[in-house]
Symmetry: C2
Subunit: 312 residues, 2 copies
């Protein structure tokens, strides 16, 4: 059994065509070729924290993968990273452990950001004057980094709650190619941005209006209670896309909009079917589209396998 | 993060009072002090195999534990062990990984055998002329090894399907203190044994009759479909005991007997309540008692913590 630490993982990632690997995973998933049981979950109160266990396998593949990713927000006050965890890779024919990727939740962050870029690739309008980022945390930066390969627009409006968070964000992004403006008024985002990525752990909708010609990727809400986007936006949208219809039935924005009867599951498409061309993505620049990412184990399977493949 | 291999684990176990640790776990569990989400499960067809992911934590403890244990029966034909897996221990306040116990499913086997001994301690009649073991696999030996500390009787009747399996069993148990007789006729078990442990992965009931003054520990059936004991025996029993009522509701012997309406869940007791004295165990030597073990994450939590505590 190989044990791979974070530095090794980071050194390998530039060799991997992550978009291709994750897209292939979504396609296999939507084709019914992937076994992904419901997400395992542990929640803690004091201090608050949660752990997601995502696991599964591609049928007739060599491996099965179990991913553990935790978030303990108060870690940050103690000088520790919020996220932690690892990915475990086992032989699908014998159960023998093959590798432990001690990624400290980094690969979860990467595959989440890559999924955001995939959504933009298939769903964003051609004309993007500004990218809107809702939130100032880790994904608020990583999403932008992976979008830079997909979207020409280099102007960004970042929404956040405080000047301190903006200063930190600006300082950490100063080496990026983006021109970053900040706002505490969410209207600036929906008025000026045609590609919006919501990256918070909010349980109260932050975005409550949308203009024609906008794509929203809602990636923060991955539980029963989190919600970043008012359900009326899903009702208004021309296309509502789930990374996994079965997961979005029980968590995330689509779950909320189903509960409030703003949409029906039969109106929701699955990302893998749009990537494969089975279903149409955006067909005009004036449409409103929204993608709800809850994070599917097939992303973890694909990124873990890719890291192993390219390791020296 | 510490990585502990099987040899280290085996060298530590003799220092641990496993009965005490696992009993404490069952008590905490039945007191509602343990968070144990539903078991995660992966099944494979070709070759057949299954993986159980059991995880959880004791409230206000230091750690949370995730246990992965797989069984691939055809491994044995390839000279590999059927079982594999590991236990992962994380900090409950930060999510930081503390240790990986590369136990190759050994700790699962041990904590399962210890649970069998605990059932015998609280539920077996005083008079045991013969111990009955149904099955000839790994647990059929381990259960006996851990029973030797609890039960004076040294006479054993082992039921199996073939002479070859008996030869293997006898040869592997020849250093034990037990006098082992074998049979292919299940009636020999129920007619002569007052303490019976069923240790198979059967999906068809093997034991269909029971005499007064018998305790049965059914430990093989841990899924929706496995069943070793006819549900009429549960209906006839004076005491039906679950390791976890919530797990036994959806897997194992109790699940089967609930489905066939041979028993009601309100008539089932939980093992931790008997250990703690909240509920009475066996009160006379003529009672029929049955314990259904499906394997609860708190056993994994307790054994993983105990190994870590006693490691040099």
């Amino acid at each position: 059994m190989r044990i791979i630490n974070l530095d090794e993982i980071k050194s390998v990632l530039p060799k991997v065509d992550l978009m291709k690997e994750i897209e292939a995973g979504f396609i296999a998933y939507s084709n019914g070729e992937v076994v992904v049981p419901p997400v395992g979950e542990l929640q803690f109160d004091s201090p608050p924290g949660d752990v997601h266990i995502k696991y599964g396998y591609i049928k007739n593949d060599d491996v099965y993968v179990i991913k553990i990713a935790s978030g303990f927000p108060q870690n940050v006050d103690r000088g520790l990273p919020n996220g932690n965890g690892m990915m475990l890779v086992f032989n699908q024919k014998t159960g023998k452990p093959i590798a432990i990727l001690k990624d400290e939740a980094y690969l979860t962050d990467v595959r989440t950001a890559v999924a955001g870029a995939i959504c933009a690739k298939y769903l964003a309008p051609k004309t993007v004057n500004n990218i809107g980022i809702v939130g100032t945390g880790l994904q608020a930066k990583m999403q932008l980094n992976y979008l830079s390969e997909i979207v020409d627009c280099k102007k960004v409006i970042v929404w956040g709650r405080s000047e301190a968070s903006f200063l930190k964000y600006q300082s950490e992004m100063k080496k990026s190619a983006f021109e970053i403006n900040t706002t505490t008024n969410i209207n600036d985002v929906f008025n000026h941005c045609q590609l919006i990525v919501t990256c918070t752990s909010s349980e109260i909708p932050l975005l409550d209006r949308v203009n024609p010609g906008t794509h929203i990727t809602a990636m923060g809400s991955d539980t029963l209670t989190k919600q970043e986007v008012d359900s009326s936006i899903l009702s208004e949208a021309d296309l509502v896309v789930a990374d996994s219809k079965s997961q979005c039935d029980v968590r995330g924005e689509i779950h909320q909009a189903l509960q409030s009867k703003d949409i029906l599951m039969e109106d929701v498409l699955e990302l893998g079917d749009i990537i494969s061309g089975k279903e149409k993505g955006r067909t005009s620049d004036t449409q409103i589209t929204i993608a709800d990412l809850t994070g599917v184990a097939v992303q973890d399977i694909q990124i873990a396998k890719a890291v192993l493949k390219y390791l020296p």
